[in-house]
């Protein structure tokens, strides 16, 4: 059961980041960072199906994480987030058509290993 929850957390948080990335690129590159422009950016984001789906996905990740830490130690639950770095790289390559060279694969794997080891 615990491992099924870990899989759901990793998958839903990676999916949320993929949807956010796709949603932001759909809106186009942000050039204007004046504070009073934030409302306009936010209003456009709220109309994006990708951004709305990413919020749903983040909510799933958050509530399953709460359920996981209620039945297991935090030191077990937190390293679960490490797997998302590799999963996000795979999704970025196949769903976002990013060019992932050996440095990005190696980098994501090292980061995932490092984050998992930090909790030991």
């Amino acid at each position: 059961m615990k491992w099924a929850m870990v899989a759901v957390i990793a998958a839903s948080s990676a999916l949320a980041d993929v949807l956010q990335s796709a949603g932001m690129k759909e809106q186009g590159e942000i050039h204007d960072f004046r504070v009073w422009m934030a409302g306009g950016h936010l209003a456009r984001l709220m109309r994006s199906r990708n951004m709305l789906a990413s919020m749903g996905s983040l909510a799933v990740s958050f509530f399953v994480f709460l359920a996981l830490i209620s039945i297991s130690e935090l030191s077990f639950a937190v390293p679960a987030t490490a797997a998302t770095y590799v999963l996000e790289t795979i999704l970025a390559k196949y769903f976002l058509n990013e060019h992932v060279d050996w440095r990005r694969w190696a980098g994501a794997t090292l980061v995932a290993g490092g984050v998992a080891m930090l909790m030991l």
């Binding site: 942000i30 204007d32 990005r104 980061v111 080891m117 930090l118």
Partner: protein, 147 residues
Amino acid sequence: MPKVPLLHPTRSSQNLRTPLFVAIVVCGNLAGNVLLRAGMGGSTALPALAPTAYLQALLNPWVLLGVPLLIVGLAAQLALFSWADLSYVAPVTSIGYALTAVAGRLFLHEPLSMTRWAAVFLITAGVALVSGTVPSTAGAEIYGARR
């Protein structure tokens, strides 16, 4: 004379904006989490199904300072996603994990075992590798971006 946005990017500012926004994401999350932890430090564990306890925690001054910083970090990450790849942003912003461990050792004198030093080294090496790549490899046109 045409009206140009005050912060419209020039070539040199475009080169600097990715590291600048990565720094904002990392610092916003780091400082926000430290303040949340400081705010929650004295309180007892929150019961899972008691919304009033969460609302009370939100009124703590440290938490009130920490939440806007986390929002700034999230906004900077969304802005980064508008031009940089996910496979670049996700690993590079993970340097916050290593900085948190080292800051705990330096400022709070928390013990850092050999395993944790090795973890800090692995994360730093991974970030260095990814940050050597071009931030954006996927053309925005595949998403039908608005221009």
